[in-house]
């Protein structure tokens, strides 16, 4: 099962996705995993990671650091993937994967066969600005990934300042 949570910066999407993952885990025996994809480069990154750690402290998540490879071993559990946009940026700009969308889709499909996967992604599509070719390619690939994952998903939610706007399925 796949659930997708999207939204802009500071839209409260992580909080909604965490709550969904916790509720899904209540009815399962497997583990509750937090797949952290962010590579930390500086103090600002450290603070962001620290903020998210505080937010989920005591909620029962096992943190798995996976900036460039999503561990597909778990079975029967709930995986919160935080977040797709960082995972894609790493695949494109650090690991230089030739087919980043294909790699990530393969990982998510493998995970979702045996687990519930809650994916946090990002709305980066509406600022109307022009960017360099690399960034334009990133936006296009993230958009297509979002479309493909939302097509497979049972639940698609957009977080609008903490309010869940359900585009597909029913909120769990």
């Amino acid at each position: 099962m796949i659930c997708v949570f999207s939204g802009g910066s500071g839209s409260g999407k992580s909080e909604l996705a965490e709550k969904c993952a916790i509720r899904l885990a209540e009815s399962r025996k497997g583990g509750l995993y937090y797949y952290a994809t962010m590579r930390v480069w500086d103090k600002e990154g450290e603070r962001r990671v620290e903020k998210h750690r505080r937010q989920r402290a005591g909620r029962g998540f096992v943190t798995v650091e996976c900036p460039s490879y999503l561990d597909t071993e778990p079975s029967g559990g709930v995986i919160l993937l935080e977040c797709l946009s960082n995972r894609l940026a790493n695949a494109m700009f650090c690991d230089r994967d030739e087919d980043p969308a294909g790699v990530i889709l393969g990982e998510v499909k493998a995970l979702a066969e045996k687990n519930s996967v809650v994916i946090v992604t990002n709305e980066v599509f509406s600022d109307g600005a022009e960017y360099d070719a690399e960034t334009e390619r990133y936006i296009d690939i993230l958009g297509r990934l979002n479309c493909e994952l939302c097509r497979m998903a049972e639940l698609v939610v957009e977080s609008v300042y903490g309010i869940p706007v359900v585009h597909k399925g029913e909120l769990v």
Binding site: G8, S9, G10, S11, G12, F125, S126, D127, Y161
Partner: protein, 116 residues
């Protein structure tokens, strides 16, 4: 009653509150005065910071109040730190206001959708 109206830039939010919430031009301002409707909260947040804006609003939440704000942060993460901080600040502040609001309306191309 606290009503929050959000939506992208130039989506007709002010027009919407005139039309649907019967607010007159005299009642609209981008300020914390006697005005019934506070528009362009995002500008006030940029000028004063989210925390200061929330403090000002605390005094208004006891009576009817209409708040309008541009939805920002739906683009590529900006290169400039101050711009990144600004988007986060608007997001956090609006999450807090949305929690307090009785109604949240999102305006898309002039069409309002009540999401809370």
């Amino acid at each position: 009653m606290i009503v929050l109206v959000i939506g992208g830039r130039a989506q007709g939010k002010t027009e919407y509150i005139r039309r649907e919430l019967n607010v007159t031009d005299e009642e609209i301002a981008c300020a914390f005065g006697e005005n019934k409707a506070i528009v362009h909260l995002e500008k006030l947040i940029r000028e004063r910071g989210g925390e200061a804006v929330l403090r000002e609003l605390e005094n208004r939440f006891s009576h009817d109040c209409i708040l309008c704000c541009d939805e920002v942060g739906m683009g590529i993460v900006p290169m400039e730190k101050s711009e990144r901080d600004y988007r986060d600040d608007v997001g956090r502040t609006l999450c807090a206001i949305a929690k307090r609001a009785d109604r949240v309306i999102r305006v898309f191309a002039g069409i309002g959708q009540r999401i809370k």
